[in-house]
C-alpha cells in the first residue's frame, strides 16, 4: 500500500491514539489492520488508552494518511498521530509539511511531529484549531497531502 507521495520516506515510528472504541475486539480489529501494512516491523498496543505504536522497516515511502486510511478501514478514527521521521524529510518538503509551532527540523537527524489536520485530531479539537490557526491560510483548506505539524519535545 504505497502512497502517492514518494518523497516522504522513512517513517520510523507512528504513535496513534484511536477514537470511538473501548472494547478489546475493536482494538484487535485495528491491531490486525495495522499489521497488514507492508513494511510494518511490529505494533505495540495499550488497550486501556487505545494507543498503537507502529514500528516500520527502513526505506518505506509512507505519508501520514496511510495510518488514517487504515484506522478508518477498521471502523474507527485517529484522535492523535505522532510520526517519527528524518528531519531532512520535513525540511525538504516545505510545501507539504507546514509548521504550526516553534523549532526547526533542519539539523535534526530524527524528529517526531504531531499532525494537526482534520482526521488526525478529534472533531472537537479540529474545530478549536480552526480558530487557533486561522492565520495559517493553508490549515482550513484540508488538502489530503498537506500536513500541518508541531515538533514534539524529545
Amino acid at each position: 500500500m504505497l502512497t502517492a507521495n514518494s518523497t516522504f520516506a522513512q517513517v520510523k515510528k507512528a504513535e496513534i491514539i484511536a477514537t470511538g472504541l473501548t472494547c478489546s475486539m475493536c482494538s484487535n480489529a485495528i491491531y490486525k489492520q495495522l499489521n497488514t501494512i507492508v513494511g510494518v516491523d511490529s505494533v505495540l498496543t495499550d488497550l486501556n488508552t487505545n494507543t498503537f505504536t507502529v514500528f516500520l522497516k527502513p526505506d518505506n515511502k509512507y505519508a501520514p494518511n496511510l495510518f488514517k486510511e487504515n484506522i478508518e478501514k477498521a471502523g474507527f478514527f485517529i484522535g492523535s498521530l505522532i510520526v517519527t521521521v528524518p528531519g531532512s524529510v520535513i525540511s525538504g518538503n516545505i510545501n507539504q509539511f507546514i509548521p504550526l509551532g516553534k523549532g526547526s527540523p533542519i539539523n535534526e537527524e530524527e524528529i517526531s511531529i504531531k499532525i494537526f489536520d482534520e482526521g488526525y485530531v478529534t472533531h472537537k479539537e479540529h474545530k478549536k484549531y480552526l480558530k487557533t490557526f486561522a492565520s495559517v491560510g493553508t490549515y482550513s483548506q484540508n488538502k489530503a497531502d498537506v500536513f500541518h505539524y508541531k515538533i514534539e519535545a524529545k
Binding site: T22, S24, F76, T122
Partner: protein, 270 residues
C-alpha cells in the same frame, strides 16, 4: 422512603447498564471492519404457546465489511417446526453507516439498513418477523452512543411481509406491515482494566424490542437479558433470555433462550 430508595436504586442500575454494543438481537450503528468477515451460528429455543414443545431455530450467518461504511450479511433459517431440521429460508442484509462523531473512548453513530427475506414456512402468527418466519423486507435506522464502558442503541424500522413460498399466502385478515422499535443497553463488566487481547471480556446487556402492526395497532413488547463473552478479542458467545412483557397479538412462541457463537476473520481480504 422505600419508594425513594427503589427509584434511586433503579436509576443507579440504569445509569450503569448497558455497555458494549455487540447486541444479541439488534445491530449497532457501527459496522464490520472493511475487508473482515465473520460467521455466526445463532440458535434459539422458544416455548410453543399453542402446542407442546419448543421451537428451535438455527441461523447460520456470514457477514462481510465491503468498506469502512458498508457491510453485507447473508443468513439462512432452519427450524424444527415440522419435527425435523428444515431449511425454511434466507435473507440478505445491508447496513450503511452514514454519520460518525467519535471522541476518545466514545462515539455517536447513525446507520441505515435494509433486509430482504425469503421463507417457505407456513404463516402461523400475527407477528411479522422477516428473520426466520416471513418473506418480506425491512428498512430501518439505528442510532448508537458509546461512552466508556456503556453503550446505548435505539432503532426504528418498517417491516413488510409478503406471501411465503411456495404457496403460503399471507392471510388477508392479518396486517402485513409493522413498525419495529428497540432500545438496547450494554456494559462491559469484566475486565476492569485490560491487560491483553487474550483476556475474556464479559458484557451484560438488556434489550427492549417492540412491534406495532400498522393498521390494527396490535403490539408486543419484549425484554431480553443477555450475558456475552468475548474470547481472544476475536470470537463471541451470547447467552440470552427473551420474554414477552406485553402483547395483544397472536404469537406462537414468544419466550425462550438464545445461544449464539460468532467468529471474526480479521482482514479476510487484505
Amino acid at each position: 422512603m422505600k419508594k425513594y430508595l427503589l427509584s434511586v436504586g433503579l436509576l443507579y442500575i440504569i445509569s450503569f447498564l448497558g455497555a458494549q454494543e455487540l447486541f444479541v438481537v439488534t445491530d449497532p450503528a457501527s459496522n464490520m471492519p472493511a475487508g473482515s468477515s465473520n460467521i455466526r451460528l445463532s440458535q434459539s429455543l422458544f416455548k410453543e404457546l399453542l402446542e407442546d414443545g419448543y421451537n428451535y431455530h438455527l441461523m447460520p450467518e456470514v457477514s462481510y465489511g465491503i468498506n469502512k461504511n458498508l457491510m453485507v450479511r447473508a443468513a439462512s433459517f432452519l427450524s424444527n417446526r415440522n419435527n425435523r431440521l428444515y431449511l425454511e429460508g434466507g435473507s440478505l442484509f445491508l447496513k450503511y453507516r452514514f454519520f460518525s462523531s467519535d471522541d476518545i473512548h466514545s462515539h455517536f453513530r447513525l446507520a441505515a439498513y435494509g433486509r430482504v427475506s425469503k421463507n417457505r414456512a407456513d404463516i402461523h402468527q400475527e407477528q411479522i418477523e422477516t428473520m426466520g418466519h416471513n418473506s418480506g423486507a425491512e428498512l430501518g435506522l439505528i442510532a448508537t452512543k458509546l461512552v466508556h464502558k456503556t453503550a446505548i442503541s435505539s432503532s426504528i424500522s418498517l417491516e413488510k411481509a409478503t406471501n411465503n413460498d411456495p404457496n403460503y399466502v399471507f392471510p388477508e385478515t392479518q396486517d402485513n406491515t409493522a413498525i419495529n422499535y428497540s432500545l438496547s443497553w450494554g456494559r462491559l463488566m469484566y475486565p476492569k482494566t485490560y491487560k491483553s487481547y487474550k483476556q475474556t471480556n464479559i458484557n451484560l446487556m438488556f434489550e427492549f424490542l417492540g412491534q406495532t402492526l400498522s393498521d390494527n395497532r396490535k403490539t408486543f413488547i419484549d425484554g431480553t437479558a443477555a450475558i456475552q463473552f468475548i474470547v481472544n478479542s476475536q470470537s463471541r458467545i451470547d447467552l440470552a433470555y427473551r420474554k414477552s412483557l406485553f402483547s395483544n397479538m397472536l404469537r406462537s412462541a414468544p419466550n425462550g433462550i438464545y445461544l449464539n457463537f460468532e467468529y471474526t476473520f480479521f482482514n479476510f481480504k487484505k
